[in-house]
Symmetry: C2
Subunit: 267 residues, 2 copies
């Protein structure tokens, strides 16, 4: 090849490289943008609108402005998925645990054994994330039979931060009450086994729904339980749950802490 | 110039253009990324870590997991700025208003004139965003003298969504009580004027702190006011504020709604 032709070839090659580079960088930009915002097409408008709608939706859920919702809006499937498994859910929990630890460190425990904490079970102590992956992160409607089958296996993993908190509470001398809406008759043994196999050892009592609580809302049922504990002389220093209905009503505790859960609402 | 030299020149020019294009696209990527995530260097780690920390911090604030904080963490300045003026704050409010409208549409009003709503004033009815722009969106500590000077001017703009809600409440026959922690003696007239010039016309009463409320926390002060209203026979259907301390305590209302505010905490 003559020198001029070789140079022309170089020009073509470099121009092609420049085009390719441009394509790659534009793709990279879009990928980062979509990853960060969780942008998805959405009936309200463009992809970005969809992402910002889902941010607003999740904030409304977590602040209890949005109640009694039945399913995650389908346009927020990817947003909730990314939130739950992309790291932000874990980081949100870590920051809440930091707050609780700092609160606990300021409490002077008495020696009468009546300093208590209340923890919810599902998606507080142990996680149903694997189950909800199969339910499109809450986009599918509540399915009691399949949830019962899942819970019966006793295979929910601990939420690491909450297991750490649990251990600290027990070590520090708090009486820890695990209060759950699960039915004692059908899920009692599986829940006991699951908590044990995940390291929740040393709590005072696991309190589950019995026939007498049937049909009551979570707020009514959990308030009744807490009222009984207070009448027995317990001081409820803290109350942790993933649902506002864990934390509302009577004797809710000196401080309540809300864990994130954009996948379902318990009435 | 000979042909080979000209071609060599073209190669150099195209190579330089490709480099420049690469720089521009990388900058663009970083700009979009930083705009979307509010990513800033952060002691906890990289820029991305900083952005995810600020998301967790803001969520903890809005869910009342983080209390009695004095200033926005300095590493979250850009994050809070972007949130407040980049559109997400407005969209979050719009979605809350939708929820409130749907709640209101389900209420059957009686004709005794005792159906009431409570609205907070600062950053609920009228906005202090312009003031907080000058206080680094809450990164600067609370400055009562400069806030008093700002509020005295009576120039806070209405929050459009809340003005719309206010008008609907008045039209529908609710008695609207505006309850604020502002001091009546020093800010009474300016606040009345400001509400009027922004279109808040037709409310039942503007209730402000007087000498008898001095030194009381917001929860105690606002609970006392609400209790008096309930004793007078009012049914508090709803209560809207940007602070959890607007919504906690006695007679908080049949439903409470929390507006976002990541710029300051009122104890």
């Amino acid at each position: 090849m003559s020198e001029p032709e070789e140079n022309k070839n170089q020009v073509r090659i470099i121009a092609a490289m420049a085009r390719r580079l441009q394509e790659v960088l534009i793709f990279l930009c879009l990928a980062i943008f979509s990853k960060v915002t969780g942008a998805k097409p959405h009936p309200r408008g463009s992809g970005l609108d969809g992402a910002t709608y889902c941010l607003s939706w999740r904030m409304a859920v977590e602040t209890d402005n949005l109640r009694a919702w039945r399913t995650v809006p389908i346009q927020c499937l990817r947003h909730v998925e990314t939130y739950m498994i992309g790291g932000q859910y874990d980081r949100d929990i870590d920051l809440i645990m930091e707050q609780i630890f700092s609160y606990i460190n300021g409490i002077v425990i008495s020696d009468d054994g009546m300093d208590a904490w209340i923890l919810d079970v599902d998606d507080t102590c142990i996680s149903n994330l694997f189950y909800y992956k199969g339910k499109r992160f809450g986009c599918d409607p509540w399915d009691p039979a399949s949830f019962k089958a899942w819970a019966s296996k006793g295979g929910c993993p601990a939420i690491p931060g909450v297991l750490g908190l649990f251990s600290k509470l027990v070590e520090n001398g708090f009486k820890v009450f695990l209060v759950t809406g699960r039915d004692e008759e059908t899920l009692g043994q599986a829940t006991l086994d699951n908590l044990h196999n995940q390291g929740f050892i040393g709590y005072e009592r696991l309190i589950m729904r019995t026939a007498s609580h049937k049909g009551k809302s979570a707020v009514i049922y959990k308030s009744e339980i807490r009222k009984q504990l207070v009448e027995q002389g317990y001081r409820i220093w803290g109350n942790l749950g993933d649902q506002w209905t864990d934390l509302q009503g009577d004797c809710s505790g000196n401080r309540t802490f809300k864990l994130p859960n954009p996948m379902y609402f318990v009435p």
